[in-house]
């Protein structure tokens, strides 16, 4: 039948159905305001490989140096560190003359030293570009120092280094001279900590993936509170792998199996989430790391898409 000759009653049915659908979508939106939470976030940049540097290969850690306004990225399988400007334009590449082996995490202290976890060497390497020195961090004074398997890193305002010991499931703290200070751990953890960050007030935030818990410690390592659990609900974690804290104290947790970033306030109350599984820009495929700079830009290492996506709240 020709569209123009459609009887009136059929047109009324079509219009009514459309209105009902809109109403239904509205009700759904009220009940599950997911898209609203997603809509608050804007993708402000994406770091890919290109013809000049070749494709990224399983990037892992990322760090933004506020002083130099530079992004440092550990391009793990390519055994190199990459640096980008504040608008994510490529600047330089560093591989310590081919000596870097599987760099997985990176931070930069106020003395302009890059501190990098090298998985293959099972060590944390300090790259002092000004002093033209590269040397490993000495774990030997830490309890069971020979057993340490280093993971993610974080720095506090005094350049103290917080290092995840994957084998011991704890956080080892070193001062800015590399001297071991103390360990932070919990009792009865399943698998121990997977990631660590230090908030603006000096509180230490740690994530236990297998328990699905975020732990918050004070400067001295005293447990203040904990929250979170693994489960299927919206506010629960499936497989959280990395966390970050913004200047306002909001805690962002990357869930690798949900392919989302979940947001909690300073009391651990769920605030919302953004992104979802996928390949297109704005979506995530096995994200592995999160970092937030002072401009509130959120860097998510989108590992299985071999890229970094940078989000910002609208």
């Amino acid at each position: 039948m020709d569209k123009e000759n459609k009887p009136l009653y059929k047109r009324i049915i079509v219009i009514t159905n459309t209105l009902l659908l809109i109403l239904f979508a509205g009700v759904l939106q009220l009940i599950y305001p997911v898209s609203q939470a997603r809509g608050e976030w804007e993708l402000v940049g994406t770091i890919y490989g290109d013809d000049l540097i070749g494709p990224l290969n399983q990037p892992s850690g990322i760090f933004f140096d506020e002083e130099k306004q530079r992004v440092y990225l550990a391009d793990t399988r390519n055994n190199r560190l990459l640096s980008y400007g504040s608008n994510f334009e490529f600047l330089s590449e560093f591989s310590a003359e081919g000596k870097l082996e599987l760099p997985t995490c990176i931070v930069r202290d106020s003395k302009k030293r890059l501190i990098v976890t090298e998985s293959k060497k099972n060590q944390v390497t300090i790259i002092d570009i000004i002093g033209k020195k590269i040397y490993p961090l000495d774990f030997s004074h830490a309890p069971q120092g020979g057993d340490v398997i280093p993971g993610n890193l974080a720095l506090d305002g005094g350049d103290n280094l917080y290092l995840i010991d994957r084998a011991g499931g704890k956080i080892l703290v070193f001062d800015n001279q590399g001297k071991y200070l103390r360990a932070i751990k919990t009792e009865g953890g399943l698998g121990g900590f997977n990631d660590v960050r230090v908030g603006a007030k000096g509180n230490v935030y740690a994530l236990d993936t297998l328990q699905g818990k975020v732990y918050v410690f004070d400067k001295k390592g005293k447990l203040l509170f904990q929250f979170g659990k693994r489960g299927e609900k919206r506010r629960e974690f499936e497989f959280p792998v990395s966390l970050a804290v913004d200047r306002r104290g909001l805690i962002y947790v990357v869930d690798q199996h949900k392919n989302m970033v979940l947001i909690f306030n300073g009391d651990g109350e769920f605030q919302g989430e953004f992104s979802e599984f996928g390949w297109r820009e704005g979506r995530l495929n096995f994200p592995s790391y999160i970092f937030i700079d002072r401009s509130q830009r959120i860097y998510v290492v989108d590992r299985d898409n071999d890229r970094v996506q940078i989000f910002k709240r609208l």
């Binding site: 399983q58 060497k121 020979g146 084998a167 751990k185 199996h257 390949w279 096995f286």
Partner: protein, 416 residues
């Protein structure tokens, strides 16, 4: 005399209460029986079955409409509800009891009739088969106890001596905690038992760590494969004379297995642990029935941490309708490296090579894949898992999208 009065009052109250709860008249000649009689006029086989065997109470009472709708129904056999939902309408207590961490698969799926008959049975609890045989209808004996020496309760088919057939708080549907179940029959104070364990403190020991509760080719049901120092009686290789494990935690294991240490020094290191020797998270240091002295079958070890993956993959979600056949074999390590890997998802090589190991034909003849075939969505080289989800998918061939159109239009939007 006063006390007799009280007894009389209590008895009368119970009698009245009983009549109210179980109205005799209704059972013998009430409407419901009439209803049942009507049904059984056409279904005499049900009447015969119900009254010649142990009958289900509603069926005995002729209360067919408790489960069936006599006129129309959405479900087969005019049932008013399907599976467990029908049973739980009356069996509310059981529903509560079954809400535990480990649930027998048919219970989880609401398939009560896998084990129970709905009208009657010659067996107790309306079981479809004798209590001593019923488990073997799904769990064949040759798989469970194929070895020479068999645990005596199992010989008699008394599986329920150790297992709860519905649900349990512990693994393997054990009726009690794994560390307590053995001592309910085997006293830890038995001098023979103590002597055979070199006077080792047995209280609180994990018996199942070393003994197979079903069968073994070894005496005393000790598991099949032995750690070499243990088999040689060289306890001091790992223990101090006090029995305590030598210092060094995982370094203790690496001192004899240095090649394994390198396996952890990868992009993705699977090392995890807070409880001392991390190797013991997955391996048994003395004996095991599994290759490499693994504590248990791959899936049991892996899912003990990857509980969300277990729920997704082993659950009934249609999103995981098509699963990789290796799941049926419980072989996670067919594709994933247990210690560490330089490749995504702890695969043993890159995605295409990993799949190509088994799928030889597809590895040679396929949609273009590799570094040169760029996925326009992620700007990354295409791999097998760009289109397939090897863990499971809603579409046939474990495809992420429908292969008639949606899969292709993900990338070829302008060609359509």
């Amino acid at each position: 005399m006063k006390i007799y009065r009280y007894y009389c009052i209590i008895l009368l109250t119970m009698l009245m209460g009983g009549i109210l709860v179980f109205p005799l008249e209704e059972v013998s000649s009430g409407e419901k029986v009439k209803g049942g009689q009507v049904c059984m006029e056409c279904h005499p086989e049900v009447r015969k079955e119900v009254f010649s065997q142990n009958g289900h109470r509603p069926a005995e009472r002729g209360n067919c409409v408790e489960c069936h709708n006599p006129h129309t129904a959405k479900h087969d056999n005019l049932l008013s509800e399907i599976g467990g939902r029908l049973c739980y309408r009356c069996h509310k207590k059981e529903k509560k009891e079954f809400a535990r961490e480990h649930v027998h698969l048919p219970v989880g799926k609401g398939e009560c009739t896998k084990c129970h008959r709905p009208h009657s049975s010659i067996n107790k609890s309306l079981l479809i088969e004798n209590r001593n045989k019923i488990c073997f209808s799904c769990h064949p004996q040759e798989k469970i106890f194929s070895r020479k020496n068999i645990h005596s309760p199992l010989k008699k088919g008394n599986c329920m001596k150790c297992h709860d057939p519905h649900a349990s708080d512990g693994e393997f549907l054990l009726a009690k905690d794994g560390k307590k179940i053995c001592i309910s029959c085997h006293s830890v104070k038995d001098p023979n038992l103590v002597k055979s364990h070199n006077n080792y403190q047995l209280k609180g020991a994990d018996c199942l760590g070393c003994h197979n509760p079903h069968s073994s080719n070894n005496k005393s049901l000790v598991r099949e494969f032995f750690h070499k120092p243990f088999a040689a009686g060289k306890c001091n290789s790992c223990h101090l004379s006090s029995g305590i494990i030598k210092k060094g935690d995982k370094e203790l294991c690496f001192s004899c297995h240095p090649e394994v240490k390198k396996e952890f020094q990868k992009v993705f290191s699977h090392i995890r642990g807070v409880k001392g020797n991390v190797c013991l998270e997955c391996h048994n240091s003395h004996v095991s029935d599994e290759h490499a002295l693994k504590k248990a079958r791959d899936d049991r070890i892996c899912f003990s941490c990857h509980s969300d993956t277990k729920k997704r993959v082993m659950g009934t979600s249609p999103e995981y309708k098509y699963k990789h056949p290796k799941f049926e074999e419980f072989k996670c390590t067919s594709c994933h490296q247990a210690h560490g890997s330089d490749y995504r998802l702890l695969l043993s090589s890159d995605e295409n090579s990993s799949c190509g190991n088994c799928h030889e034909a597809q590895g040679k003849f396929t949609h273009p894949i590799g570094k040169e075939s760029i996925d326009p969505r992620s700007k990354r080289g295409m791999t097998c898992i760009t289109c397939h989800n090897p863990m499971g998918a809603i579409e046939e061939f474990a495809l992420r999208f429908g292969r008639k159109k949606e899969l292709c239009t993900q990338c070829h939007r302008h060609n359509m």
